[in-house]
Amino acid sequence: MIFTFLKKLHLELLAWPAGLICLFFLDPAAGQPSLCLFKNIGIPFCPGCGLGHGIHFFLHGRWQEAVHHHWLAPVTVVMLIYRTVQVARFQYAEFKLQ
């Protein structure tokens, strides 16, 4: 029963909110672990560097710092929330159909 439910669930619906919530609570200044796969493996450069910090500061309302860390941070937050809503609406329509 639970498995059929999980099979029907759109993965993006879990991934984006989970990512945003993690980034909200992980404070980069306090030296908490990074979500970045590259950094954990040990690759030093990636065009997305600073995005996590940027999103953290944006979610805490410090917009200037956010843009300073990565100029796409505000766009990313808005897009991810928009996409989550889009997927949620699609999922709702699918469930209602059954």
Binding site: H10, E12, G19, L37, C46, G48, L51, V75, M79
Partner: protein
């Protein structure tokens, strides 16, 4: 045009087929054929989306999002290397649902274009 004409669409699943049969059940045979021809040309194959996802692991990320007409997400994937691979892996695991989400929209558009809905 039999009930099973939709089965010839590449990579089609039971769920999609049942949904399409439900959508087209009131159409005449002629209209069903016109719908199928139009939908076929607009539909994306899940396998193609999977391949585009996997290209993201070795090169340019986010091609699948551009193909599925999600331009803004595509640009984000491109700039952030698919959210440091995490997004690319999620999309690869989820490619059937992503494609079905797009195809469902295209089916409704096809029906509307033919004036059937």
């Amino acid at each position: 045009m039999s009930d099973y004409s939709f089965a010839m669409l590449p990579g089609i699943e039971q769920e999609e087929m049942l949904w399409l049969q439900e959508l087209t059940k009131s159409y005449s045979t002629d209209n069903k054929q016109r719908f199928l021809a139009l939908y076929q040309s607009r539909r994306k194959d899940p396998q193609m989306i999977l391949i585009c996802c996997l290209i993201g692991l070795i090169g340019t990320a986010g091609i699948q999002r551009f193909v599925l007409n999600q331009i803004a997400m595509g640009i984000l994937y491109l700039v952030t290397l698919g959210f440091c691979f995490v997004g690319t892996i999620i999309d690869a695991a989820n490619h059937r649902k992503l494609t079905w989400e797009y195809n469902k929209k295209e089916a409704l558009t096809s029906a509307a274009l033919l004036g059937l809905s």
